[in-house]
């Protein structure tokens, strides 16, 4: 199996607070990796480190290596804009832009310099189909994205991320703010998407992690406690603390 993302002794600080401690992890291509752990354990911080979204926070600092296809994401020569194009992100709270549905999906293409209208039209349709939203919105592409329901908005954000053809898709609790039916749709979608993308998903919901992820990483207080095949983590974890968390004894 190809290692897509490799983290080597990765440390992360907010000013003087160490938020991630020596994280080393191999994430394989075309797999879904679930990251679980109690609130404030560094799940989101780790996720946002992978596409360098933490750069926008003042006082953020990292040590160690995070590699994509062997290339260090934090190398000073790396173009962060390119990294973010290759590593897409879906946020916890769906954040459609106050533009039309079409413009939302086309946004990433336009900022990446694509001007070919026919290509953009095709790509928007393709991305909306891949995000299982096309049939619901095809007649109202010019309507505001705010008119969509919460679940539809989140799938729109997924479509928007897919349009720029990322290699990796980061998802930060993508289903935490939507209803169970919409959640199910997103979960089905993730199974479909992993054929083409490597997916790293942070979730608070243990059942969700068990359902959708091939591998599971358990983080606590900024440390990677355990990482392995999901079925093993959920049935025979190596560490007692993992078992305690998974069985709901704390968290």
């Amino acid at each position: 199996m190809d290692v897509k993302i490799k983290s080597e002794n990765f440390n992360f600080y907010y000013n003087d607070v160490k938020a991630l401690k020596d994280i080393s992890i191999d994430i394989f291509s075309n797999k879904v990796v679930g990251i679980i752990g109690p609130s404030g354990c560094g799940k989101s911080t780790f996720l946002r480190s992978i596409n360098r979204m933490n750069d926008v926070i003042f006082g953020a600092k990292s040590e160690g290596k995070l590699l994509i296809d062997g290339e260090n994401i934090y190398d000073p020569d790396v173009d962060v804009v390119q990294i973010r194009r290759r590593i897409g992100m879906v946020f916890q709270k769906s954040n459609p832009f106050p533009k039309s549905i079409f413009e939302n999906v086309a946004y990433g293409l336009k900022v990446n310099g694509i001007k070919d209208k026919d290509y953009i039209i095709q790509k928007v349709e393709k991305s909306l189909k891949d995000a299982a939203l096309w049939s619901e919105v095809k007649d109202r592409l010019s309507k505001s994205a705010f008119d969509l329901s919460g679940g539809q908005q989140q799938r729109l954000c997924i479509a928007r991320a897919l349009a720029v053809e990322p290699e990796v898709l980061l998802m930060d609790e993508p289903a935490s703010a939507i209803d169970p039916t919409a959640t199910l749709k997103i979960e089905e979608l993730i199974q479909e998407l992993k054929k083409k993308y490597t997916i790293i998903i942070v979730t608070h919901n243990m059942q969700q992690a068990a359902r959708i992820s091939d591998y599971t990483a358990f983080l606590m207080l900024g440390e990677l406690i355990e990482y392995g095949i999901t079925s093993k983590i959920f049935t025979k974890p190596d560490k007692k603390i993992t078992e305690d968390y998974i069985t709901g004894r704390f968290g």
């Binding site: 926008v56 804009v81 946020f91 954040n95 832009f97 990433g108 505001s144 991320a161």
Partner: protein, 284 residues
């Protein structure tokens, strides 16, 4: 009526009295100016030069002067103010220095306008040798307006949710692309509103142009930016305090006041309409 209800009734009455007093003052001022000034307004008053030591004729040079000065003010204050706000809100770190800068800007908006007038004389008229003219007066008013445009623009930028910025960055937009395409379009209505309100205030100021270029009596239109000029607020000041026949020119003073108020109201109204239109377009 029990005690609680009585207290509530008294409280609301007090608030009603407050709003009533403010409304009444506004109505009295407007009534006074409109009743005494409206009779003076005519096509001739708006389009003719003043004549016979300003006892007759119109106020065209003052209208044109105020217009030209306001344009200079806008050219200085709008781009500089917006640029400064974008830089402060989007680029710099929040630390002691930037907090000091912000505090200074807030304080500058409270500096009396006469102080700006004196500063304008020293900087533009004397140091930069521009002389007392439209340009010097416009630049002085521009400096005075800057703190207002910066503060209003920064507030407008703060109202744009961070998720718009993050969302754009996560799609591979550069920081400037994210700002230009996903922040500014939603901040500009608010930025413009604040800016126009600042300009309307500048258009009505007397003190900053007093020493920097406004003239007493110039019965012709300014031919360049380097000449002295007449302006509505200054003309009003002269007509009501300095003229040799104050009683005789009182109607002209009221007419001028009315024109000035209408001008400022129009600017404020256009700010409201502009904001409404831009918001509506954004929602579609």
């Amino acid at each position: 009526m029990n005690k609680k209800h009585l207290k509530e009734f008294m409280g609301f009455m007090l608030l009603r009295i407050c709003i009533g007093i403010i409304g009444l003052i506004l109505i009295i001022i407007l009534y006074d100016i409109i009743s005494k000034g409206a009779g003076k307004i005519s096509w001739e008053f708006l389009t003719a030069m003043p004549r016979k030591g300003m006892t007759e004729g119109g106020i065209l040079p003052a209208i044109v002067g105020t217009f030209m000065v306001t344009v200079i003010t806008a050219i200085l204050a709008v781009p500089l103010g917006m640029g400064c706000a974008i830089y402060l809100n989007e680029y710099v770190k929040d630390n002691k220095i930037t907090r000091l800068i912000r505090m200074s800007i807030r304080n500058l908006s409270g500096v009396p306008s006469i102080v700006y007038g004196l500063f304008g004389v020293v900087l533009f008229v004397q140091l930069m040798h521009i002389g007392t003219c439209i340009l010097a007066a416009g630049l002085t008013l521009g400096l005075m307006t800057l703190p207002w445009t910066i503060t209003a623009s920064e507030e407008a930028l703060k109202n744009v949710p961070n998720s718009y910025r993050d969302g754009a960055l996560a799609l591979g937009a550069s920081k400037w692309q994210a700002i230009r395409t996903n922040v500014l379009p939603y901040a500009v209505p608010g930025m413009l509103t604040g800016t126009i309100l600042g300009l309307a205030r500048a258009a009505g100021e007397t003190a900053p142009i007093l020493f920097t270029g406004a003239a007493f009596y110039l019965p012709f239109l300014p031919k360049s930016l380097f000449t002295q000029f007449m302006a509505l607020p200054y003309h009003l000041y002269i007509m009501s305090t300095q003229h040799h026949a104050i009683a005789k020119v009182r109607p002209i003073a009221y007419g001028t006041a009315l024109v000035l108020i209408v001008l400022v109201f129009t600017m404020n109204l256009s700010a409201i309409i502009l904001r409404y239109q831009l918001r509506k377009r954004r929602m579609e």
